[in-house]
Each structure stands twice: as C-alpha cells, then as structure tokens.
Amino acid sequence: MNIIYVDNNATTRVDPAVMEAMMPFYTVKYGNPSSMHAFGGNVAEDIRHAREQLAALINASPQEIIFTSCGTESDSTAIWATISSLPDKKHIITSRVEHPAVKNLYEHLAKKGYKITTVPVDRQGRLDLDYFHDHLTDDTALISIMWANNETGVIFPMDVISTAARERGIVLHTDAVQAIGKIPVDVQKNPVDLLSLSGHKIHAPKGVGALYVRKGTKFTPFLIGGHQENGRRGGTENVAAIVGLGKAAMLASENLGDTQAAVARLRDRLEQGLLSRVQNAMVNGDTDSRLPNTTSISFEYIEGESILLMMNEFGICASSGSACTSGSLEPSHVLRAMGIPYTAAHGSIRFSLSHYNTEEEMDFIIEHMPPIIDRLRQLSPFWRQGKPVETMLTGAECPI
C-alpha cells in the first residue's frame, strides 16, 4: 500500500540531501569535535558551518545559536534560563494554545509559586491582543508565545508581540517549531530574545533542535557539563544531526518562496475538495493568517480516532485533536480554547503537508474521505438519512 503522508506537523521525512550530508559523520568523520587531534578537531569546522546555515535561516548571527537535542529542550532551556536570571520576578505571560512542551512546564511553574497568565484566543484561534497588553506588569519576567500553532496553523502577530516586549523591557521567548521553514522567520524584523526550533519538523532527523539566544540576553545553562556550545549546553555534540539540521535549514531557506506557495496550493485544493464534498465540515482556525501547509477540518457528529483508523486503511496518515487519540479523555486544549463545539472538536482532523506531497495524493484523499465520513455517520446515533438528528444523548451534559 502506498503511504500518503499528510502529518508533517508531527514529523517530516529526512531530505535525501540531508541524509547524504550526515552519512560521513557516522562512517568516516566520527571524531569528537573537542579532541586535540585534527581527526576530531576538524569536525568542529562542520559544526561551525551548520551553525552559520541555521543562523542564516532566521537572520541571526551564528554565535546566537545553541544546538540542543529537541524542541522541548530548547523550550525548557529558554524558560529556566530566563526565570533563574530574574529571580525577583514571578509573573509569566503565555497563551492558552501552546504546545505541551511549553504548556506543561508553565503548569509545573504555577505549582512552584509563579503567576501564569494565559492569553485567550477567539473562535478563529487569534490571540486576544487587548488581553495580552492589559496583563503585562512590572513583575512580568517572561513573555512566551508560540509563533504558529501546531494544530490549526494559525500564525500569531510576532511583530505586535515583540514590539510590546521591547517597549516594556520584558524578555520574549517564542516556540517557533512549526513556523520555521514554512514562513519567513526573521529575528531582526521581529526582535524576539529566545526562539526554539526543532530539526525533525524541517526534514532533518529527530534528536536535534536549536535555541536562538539574542546577544545580550541573560542566560544560564540548562544542561551543565562540558564546555560545548560555548559553555551554554554541556554534552558531546550530536554531530551528524547538527550537520543535517544545517543542511535542512539551508534547503528550507531556498524553499520558502515558491515551494511553500505550491504547498499552500495543494493544501487549498485538499481543503476545498473536502469542504465541497462533505456536509457539516468546517475549517478550524484563521484562514487569513495560517501556515501554508496546515488545515484542521472538523467533521461533525463522528469521532476522530475512528476517522484516522479508516484513513489508515487507505494508507493516509494524518492526526486528530479528538480525545481518544490523545490518550486523555478530553479533546485538544487548542480546540477547546477556541470554543469549538463538541460536535466538531471530537471529529477534527489535521492535515499537514510538505513539498513531498502531490496533486494526485490530494485527489486520492478527496476521493476517499467522503465515503469514510459517510460510513461513520451511518454508525452514529446523531446522524440519520443524511442529516444530523437530535437524540436524547445530543444534549446530555459533559461539563469538561
């Protein structure tokens, strides 16, 4: 069975050119960059090159890049570094729709005595900027708001957010894991202080990430150990993956224009195709400010895990914000924060594309999805003869 992979916000295929760039570091150039001998020491040169490639992608200088093991490590490093260097400030402002890598750390800090303000979003997933501005205080240690949302693709106005942070002299961290490589991210135009990114979302391997730290930002290492990364992150470098991330960053810069525009056309073809063929389906999120590769579509009155498993029968790989897929019993916190009704939240499917997708694949999905939706609706007590029905269960309460 052919695999149709439309789950690129979860992870991406490693680009063959990235793979090729990495291979020598597993086979012949396996030295440790910290070694005194040239065999190892020369590898430091390759890391330096990767650092330049990645810095170029976000318009930073190479000294401002710290390589890490993943996006989560970058987020944790940024947040712990900031609060440990500002021990007197006990307030953090974030959004209600952050990735668990950030969200769960703030829930942890709330228990440790930090006051955490979570900025709400509207029905389209747009940040409530008035609320944001109104809740900045002199006690605020950190603003931490994602650049783009992983579930809906909605892009937050980093220009407005960074301007406010600058005006008040508050440190600004952004989880840009989903934005990187899909839209232009420029840390000079939008002056953030700390920015997290991850390799495997941009066709580099899993197990490598990076943190941008603006020159002059107070910093305390998270992993204390050797002198690697200028003493800012101990641990022997994951050389091959770092080289892969550098290469992937270079390819991502090349692909930002036309290639991402083509991805957006594929996404729109898929979205329009599905919406025109399936009734009671809707897009979640602000379609005017959205990543080019992402669409979250809710199919009402059916449940996401069932949809995904039916899609799996056709080799179509996507993900869902439904409760059953998350391993928890509640639908995604993102859709709930947006106030998406339960009829729709449980049946949400996220399609996230990459430039490896084709028109034929989109047409295959457009052809095979409507019968899947029909079939599951025939099983649903909330659907009869082609339309939703009220039953005694429709209004039954579940006050989560």
Binding site: S306, Q378, P381
Partner: protein, 276 residues
C-alpha cells in the same frame, strides 16, 4: 497508536448489526456527544423470549464501535436473564482484550444493555444515584464503587480507564482513592453483612438464592432442587431431575449448594438431602 486486537479491528472495519430496530422491545441510550462517545442499543425479543435481533449506533472511537458490535453479537439468542449477566469484561474478552485505557468503551456497552433491559421491563434506571465525584464526566461514587468491585480495580488510573472518572481536571483523584480503599477495605463477600437474620428472613433469602443462583445452574445439566424444610440452620432439600440419580450429587450438594448458601445467606448453614 493503540494496540487493537485483530478482532477489534474486524468489528470496527466490519461492524455487525448496525442500525435501529424501529419496533424495538428494548432501547438503551448512554453517553453523550460532549463526552466523545455515545451508544444507542435496540433489541427485539422473539416468541421464545430470546433476543432475536439487536442493533446499535455508536459515536466514538474504534474500540467503542467494536465493543458495541461485539455486544450485539453476544446477546443475540440469549434470554433477558442471560443477557443481564453479560459484563463489560465479557465484552472485552469477546474482542480478545481491549487496551486498558479503552475499557470504558466496554463499560458503555454493558450500561446500554442494562438500560435497554430496564426499558423493556418498564423500569427506568434512576439517572444518577449517589453523589457525583467526578464533576467533569458526571460520575457518581456508586458507579466508581461498582467498577472497583466488579473489575477489581486498584488505582485511580484504573478507575479512569474503566469509567472515565478522574480523566478531566483531576480534582477528584483524592476522593477516588478514598473510594478504592473503602471498597478494598471491606471484606470480599460483603453482601450478607454479619447481622442476625430471623428464621423467616433466612427462609426467604434461601428461597431467593435457590431460585436466582442455584436452580439455573443445576437446570443447565438437567437437574433441579426443591426446598423442603428449614430447622435450626439445617436446610432440607430434595434433588430432582438428573441430580436425583447423579453419583456426584453429594458433591454438588456440599461443595456448591451449601457453599453458595453459606456465602449468600448465613455462614453456619448445613444442607441436608431428603430422600425421595
């Protein structure tokens, strides 16, 4: 990705008995759209008082659909008394097991069946008895107790997997923990609380136990049992049918009938056979 058995996948991809019986004898509806799973079960009784048809409609994940499909297959051909004995563990077992986190799907099947039988019998199951413990999913202490007893649950996580309680905000975890200790702290057979029964009460309870528990079991092998007398904690019974000629009848009498009566009525009963 969940690890579903082949049987779960089969009942999900090819669900049996989908739909609604329009002139159903019993209808059971449980769950809600908001909670993420809901099941409508309908059945029809044949002239032999056995379930001749059962249909379902389910909104939910693959294991919820498979559990519903399995349930309809399991209850077809059963009398209502037999169907009433189907437990959520039976449903899970029929499917070759369910992931632990999905056991609540089988509980939903059992609940719908219970409601449908009650509907047929003209009773309505009181919507919520007991005190709400889990505000998020509206689960009461009685529902939690029942799950802990029936499925031998030991942790708060187990309770969440089986009845969802505690799967939302988590504020009730402490209370669920207390309920588990309450249940586990009780003696295992807590039904006949060690209170003193009058002779009349004992006789009633013996009759009930014979009718409900013992006779159906003996009937399966073509045997039967009759209460003759009761005196000073001795239960005089007469064995009938195949039991009266069965060489193993004394074993049955002591190891099954007496044990059951001691368990459910009083621990000091002695069973004695009255010859024909």
């Amino acid at each position: 990705m969940w690890e579903y058995t082949e049987k779960v996948k089969d009942h999900f991809i090819n669900p049996r008995n989908v739909g609604v019986i329009d002139d159903a004898d019993g209808i059971g509806e449980v769950g809600s759209l908001a909670c993420g799973d809901a099941l409508k079960l309908t059945f029809k009784l044949g002239e032999d008082h056995k379930i001749s048809d059962a249909r379902f409609q389910t909104f939910g994940c693959a294991s919820a659909i498979a559990s519903s499909s399995a349930l309809t297959e399991m209850i077809k051909g059963l009398t209502l008394e037999e169907a009433a004995n189907v437990t959520n563990d039976d449903i899970a077992e029929f499917l070759g097991g369910l992931p632990k986190e999905k056991m609540h799907c089988s509980v939903m099947g059992r609940d719908a069946l219970e409601k449908a039988i009650a509907h047929y019998q003209g009773q309505s199951i009181p919507k919520k008895e007991g005190e709400i413990v889990c505000e998020c999913f509206g689960i009461t202490d009685l529902e939690i107790k029942r799950a802990v007893q029936e499925s031998h649950l030991k942790t708060v996580e187990d309770v969440t997997d089986y009845v969802k309680a505690g799967g939302g905000c988590g504020n009730c975890h402490e209370r669920i923990g207390e309920i588990i200790s309450e249940v586990l702290g009780e003696p295992v057979m807590a039904k006949p609380a060690p209170k003193v029964l009058t002779n009349v009460q004992k006789i009633r309870l013996i009759e009930e136990t014979l009718d409900r528990e013992i006779k159906p079991a003996l009937n399966q092998d073509g045997g039967d049992i009759e209460l003759v007398d009761f005196d000073h904690n001795t239960v005089f019974v007469r064995l009938r049918g195949t039991c009266s000629t069965c060489a193993a009848s004394q074993v049955t009498l002591k190891s099954y009938v007496e044990a059951k009566l001691r368990e459910l009525v009083a621990p000091d009963l002695v069973v004695s056979e009255v010859q024909q």
